[in-house]
Amino acid sequence: MYRLYVAFIILIFSGSTVTAGSSLPQELKDLYFGEALYYAFQEDWFDAISRLDTELTQHHGLDEPERDTLYYHINHAEFAVGDFELAYRMHQRAGRAITAVIEGNVEEPVRNEAIYRLARIYFQKDQPVNALYAVERISGDVPPHIVNDLNFLRAQILMANERYAEAADILTDLQDAKNLEGFSTYNLGIALIKDGKELEGREYLDLTGRIRSNDKLTLAIKDKSNLVLGSKLLEEKKYENAKQVLDRVRLNGPFSNRALLGSGWADVYQERFERAIVPWNILAAREVTDASVQEAMLAAPYAYGKLNVYSKAAVMYGSALANFDTELNKLDESIKSIREGHFIKALVREELKQDANWVVKLRKIPQTPETYYLLELMAAHDFQESLKNYLDLEQLRKKLDAWEGDLDAFVEIIEQRRAYYQPLLPAIDREFRQLDSQMRLRLEQRDRIEQRLQKMLVVPRPDYLATSTERINLEQIRLLEHRVSSNGTAANERIEARIKRLYGLLHWNIFTEYDDRYTETYLNLLNLNHEVDLLKTRYQAFVRTRQAATQSYEGYDDVIRRQRFRIREALEKVKILMARQGHMLETMAVNELSKRRERLAEYQIKARFAMAESYDRAARAQNQEQESK
């Protein structure tokens, strides 16, 4: 039961911030953004923020960010990181992030949504004047999905600034908003009451108290409305009405204990003791650590006493006394154990965090008296926030510890890479330089061929495409021609004619086959180009690999040294803050439990006297009965 109450309080304080930032874009284009959302959906805020921060930093560092896939989600991502920071209770940083969006070059709806979020932060951090100033800056187009939420926030902020009439006007217009069902009516009721329109306000509280819904939050606000209205009626001695309203509170809701207690009192004030016993007996059987239950343990026998059932009253007082004794012992043990430092140790038990109901589980574990009353302590917002801070600090401590180990591993990896690559690289570089010069030579040759082929398209040069055999033959014919011309005999004429024929034959072949030869050469060049491309790819791959080899062990020393220093510094701070936060939690717990102890001790004394008196009266009644016989 109490768990529900605590859950309701948590939802009221944090619910809206969590869901807003974790929404999914219509089409996810950036998987790393999707990864950040994956962590956010698990409420692992640290990893969600750190992943998204890394993505955003990389995105903003790009020369052409519009080519990055995060570009399609950039506004969403900027808002999401702010929302994650809010959920991680980093209001200052979230505020700065959102202010950066507001001051950036963004469209009106985006700017207005950012201001809305900033106003919400101020409101949550109990800064209503700043929240009002922020929300008043919103003008022009507002994204449709936040219109109702914005107006509701505006009304809440006005209420916090005691401008109830304006808040009531806004809330009146929100009565049809389905996502605010119950909350808009309840707040309207409160605003009207605060504005002096008591009757009108109560009508809205009554309306809220009659809502039919299956939504858990709406049912919780319905219960709260009935409890508030019932308590008011009780104070005004309108007991019958108070009873009717309080009885509308669900028996299994977060406010049921207080409603049952009030319902009983409404009967008692009307001297209907037999009817008061019903809710109080239900209540008295519930979790004994709850203050209402403890009160019911005294109230129920009181009602029996009023009905002259003294023996039953005496027995119930006795039972209450036994319970109070047990609870007092538990409180003593809890306070002692907390003072000995066991409370903090129990809170950080890792195995408990696996269970969503860890707060409830913690109470049930034997030999942990320090956490018997944890659930009751969790009802206080400040305690909850301090506890969350402590658990977050513990998470940071573990991360920083692990990162120190990671840095050691990085250093070892770097040293191993250096030991492997450094002796190899000089020989590889030498060989590469030789291959590089050969490659450049061949590439120049290829370029010359290409240029020549291009020119031959304009001025055909069949001689360029003569085969090597044809060139040799041509040379031989020229030699023969030279020898024949130097002899000067008549027989040479015949030889000259034959030489001319040979010349003619060679030129015939060279000229007639020119087109085919040109095409073949061109195709060969294309094939060569393909080989050259492969060569260039392998060359570039080698260059990259060669660079990567050096980069795999050089240039990390400063980064690692700086990181190590920052980690150690942060670890020191975390440890100091953990000690302070832990001490604060212990003090809060001891204070609260001491108050409860004092109250229980008073209950105990009263119960003891009442029990004695009940026994006396029971005995007297028995005697009178015997005498009358």
Binding site: T54, Q92, R93, A291, Q551, K573
Partner: protein, 171 residues
């Protein structure tokens, strides 16, 4: 006696109806001051985390060899994903058993990076094995093989799961 008891209980009921009080010896300023310091250290540690993420990526997964495999669920899928195994070139490189929270995060549209590693340029064989329960409660196991072509830049691969199929998206 009973009247005194009634008076006593009435005072208590007022106390119970009011909200719990805070510790007397701790002021609001103290709580706020400490909370602000906790926020500052969170911010510092997040900055360290961001730089470490970049260092880790540069040192362990340089872009020319980096491969990352992401897992997502098709929208509206309600089958129960129990576990998943990734094999790259015949070697198991990742195996994950899903918790309820992780499955819920996937169903809401989150994307899990199941594996980050290094491979050479060229074609590689990727085998995905999925185990789970269908909506009807029957156990199922699906195995699909895909070809991953690694070029110069980081290789990002998305494996999208549905009750009926495993889809490979080359990003």
């Amino acid at each position: 006696m009973f009247n005194r008891l009634r008076g006593f209980i009435l005072v208590l009921s007022v106390l119970v109806f009011s909200f719990p009080a805070y510790g007397e010896q701790i002021s609001r300023e103290q709580i706020k001051g400490l909370d602000e310091q906790v926020q500052e250290i969170k911010s510092d540690v997040l900055d360290i985390a961001e730089e470490l993420n970049q260092l880790e990526e540069k040192l362990l997964y340089p872009s020319n060899t980096q491969v990352a495999v992401f897992v997502s669920l098709d929208s509206g899928e309600t089958f129960r994903l129990d576990s998943m195994e990734i094999q790259l070139d015949g070697k198991p490189v990742a195996h994950h058993i899903y918790t309820f929270k992780e499955l819920e995060a996937l169903q809401k549209g989150g994307v899990q990076r199941i594996y980050t590693g290094n491979i050479l340029s060229g074609d590689h064989d990727l085998q995905v094995t999925v185990m789970g329960k269908s909506q009807g409660g029957a156990d199922f196991q699906k195995i699909e093989r895909f070809r991953v072509n690694k070029n110069v830049g980081p290789k990002i691969v998305e494996v999208s799961l549905a009750a009926e199929s495993i889809t490979f998206k080359d990003r």
